[in-house]
């Protein structure tokens, strides 16, 4: 069966510090991968998606970047965090042709 792992679950970082959130998927090959951000009491905003190794599409301009060094690994990064980067970050995967995305448990990031 397929599983998705996302860590850490919570993170408190000072303004200006770097960020690295990691997501890995098991049990499937060549998944589409996604990073979403959810502000408190709001919907999910698609930040990045990837259809293959090294292929990253950005949905909105921002202080974040994504990388996919391996087929089932997706990383969200920032060189210098801003207060506005606080939120609930969710990684997800899907396969082409299926209208279902499977989400990780999320990382709650607080920038102080």
């Amino acid at each position: 069966s397929q599983t998705i792992h996302q860590w850490p679950a919570t993170l408190v970082q000072p303004v200006g510090s770097p960020l690295s959130l990691e997501c890995t998927v098991e049990g499937t090959s060549n998944p589409n991968l996604y990073w979403y951000r959810q502000a408190a009491g709001r919907g999910l905003q698609l930040l990045f998606y990837s259809v293959g190794i090294g292929q990253i599409s950005s949905e909105v301009p921002q202080n974040l970047s994504a990388s996919r060094p391996q087929d089932r690994q997706f990383i969200l990064s920032s060189k210098k965090l801003l207060l506005s980067d606080s939120g609930f970050y969710l990684c997800a995967w899907s396969v082409l042709g299926r209208a279902e995305a499977f989400f990780g448990q999320g990382t709650r990031l607080t920038v102080v």
Binding site: Y34, G41, R42, E100, G104, Q105, R108
Partner: protein, 112 residues
């Protein structure tokens, strides 16, 4: 009834009643429409999807209706239970990356 809160619309229903959650979508070219349930502090979970060439689909205690004329999607939950209390999101699925774009969400509270 339904009201607009600070961020999320809210809906309160009595246990055992039926719930109807509505969503307006934007992209006429979406391939699929999906409903997700998100409990506090967790990632969204898939409930049901409907292909764009359909107008109704039923699952276990849930029915999704699609009205493409007015770009409207609804989720009906029969015999609502306390465990149904959560935030419900509709999502559109389209694009070369099989992207999922989420609506604002509706917070459902079931009153025992």
């Amino acid at each position: 009834g339904e009201s607009v809160g600070l961020h999320l619309p809210t809906l309160s229903v009595q246990e055992g009643d039926n719930s109807i959650i509505n969503c307006a979508y934007s992209n006429s070219a979406s391939d699929y429409f999906i409903w997700y349930k998100q409990e506090s502090g967790k990632g969204p979970q898939f409930i049901i999807d409907i292909r764009s060439n359909m107008d109704k689909r039923q699952g276990q205690r849930v029915t999704v209706l699609l009205n493409k004329t007015v770009k409207h999607l609804s989720l009906q939950i029969a015999a609502t239970q306390p465990g149904d209390s959560a935030v419900y999101f509709c999502a559109e699925n389209w694009g070369t990356g099989n992207q999922f774009y989420f609506g604002t969400g509706t917070s459902l509270t079931v009153i025992p």
